[in-house]
Amino acid sequence: MRDRIFLGLYLLWVVLLTSIHDVRFLGTAVVAVLLLSGRRAPGLLRRALGTFLWFNLAVTLAYLLSTLVRGNTSWSFVALINLRVAALTFSAFWITSRINILSALSFSPTLVYLLTIAYSQIITLRRVLLNSREALRSRTLGPLGFGDLYRHRAGVGAFLFGRGLRDATEITQAMRSRGFFDDHR
């Protein structure tokens, strides 16, 4: 229940952050989330910056270039947009580190099953993808041509499809044998 309440509060917080256009409020929100993170703050800051830094930098620089020429630059807008994105991203990382998302989404058992299976499959398929990249690298001396690279990616994509569909059949059978579908009719 605690996780569900936190998720609900987080969603309200997101609406608030996008509805209040006050630089002081957003600045306070950024500082508050970082303070709440305690010793995790430097790590959170690093991860969050990696997520939004380049896009925000591109938008900010493009805005400055276009408005400085016309002489109508709004520095409060530059602060507003960057603080809002920072507050939203810090909040997202903070909430995911504080609550169990699957428990928070337990109001929908179907969604929890979907996300749990999908997450475990992502780990499996990503390992296959990384192995295939390493295999290609270890078996080629020079750079490959476009055609070779596309054929390799297509081959990997096809293998992942086959593997995924076989896994889906296996998971269905495992769920059926454990009575999952009888319990959820």
């Binding site: 939004f52 096809a158 992942l160 499809f161």
Partner: protein, 212 residues
């Protein structure tokens, strides 16, 4: 092509959530009627597949790379609604499980990339497959990238019009349609070719097997 958090006004994302919720419920119902027991495992595995396909870098002229979405492939093989739901789950996982954000942009990204992209791919494929299946598959991939890029550009480009201070200063994305349409759509005209080629190659390898 994803819209990040913080650039979309609640005037857009709140109604988008309302529309998307209705379509998610409708899509899940349609999928359940067709697949029943296999629905959950298949949808979960396809979600994982889209997630991993999105991490496959395709080589591009100039030494750069682009990332596939797999939306067209999924739509042509499993239908529009399956593709829409799987893409939505990928975005939800990125936003909540991995903490990468995007919760405010989620419904717009899902509707643009997942629903419009899949619908365009299937429509393009069905229109052209009678003439030439190779062209139909490349077109499906191309359309699944270009049309959503147009919607993303439109969504970003209308922000200065609908959300600004009394003095006209923007409050969210600052550039209008005259900037967003060429900036977002033009690169995707080329990126779509890469997606089209991947759709063609993978479909050729797995298409017949998947369709039984």
């Amino acid at each position: 092509m994803h819209i990040p958090d913080g650039f979309i006004s609640p005037k857009v994302y709140v109604p988008a959530y309302a529309g998307a919720f209705a379509l998610w419920a409708w899509g899940l119902r349609r999928m359940r009627v067709r697949l029943r027991e296999e629905t959950i495992p298949l949808l979960a595995v396809l979600t994982a597949l889209v997630f991993v396909l999105m991490t496959i870098a395709l080589p591009f002229p100039g030494g750069t790379t682009i990332h596939a979405t797999g939306v067209a492939l999924l739509a042509v093989l499993f239908g529009v609604w399956t593709s829409f739901l799987a893409t939505t789950l990928v975005l939800l996982m990125q936003a909540l499980l991995l903490g990468a954000g995007g919760i405010t942009a989620l419904p717009i990204n899902a509707l643009a990339i997942g629903l419009l992209g899949a619908t365009a791919a299937v429509a393009g494929y069905r229109c052209l497959r009678g003439w030439n299946e190779t062209a139909a598959l490349v077109a499906a991939g191309w359309l699944s990238v270009v049309l959503p890029a147009g919607v993303v550009a439109l969504t970003l480009g209308i922000q200065p019009l609908i959300a600004h201070a009394p003095d006209g200063t923007p409050r969210f994305f600052p550039f209008g349609l005259e900037v967003t349409l060429p900036a977002v759509v033009l690169p995707h005209l080329v990126v779509g070719v890469g997606e089209g080629l991947l759709t063609l190659f993978v479909y050729r390898l797995v298409g017949r097997w998947v369709r039984g």
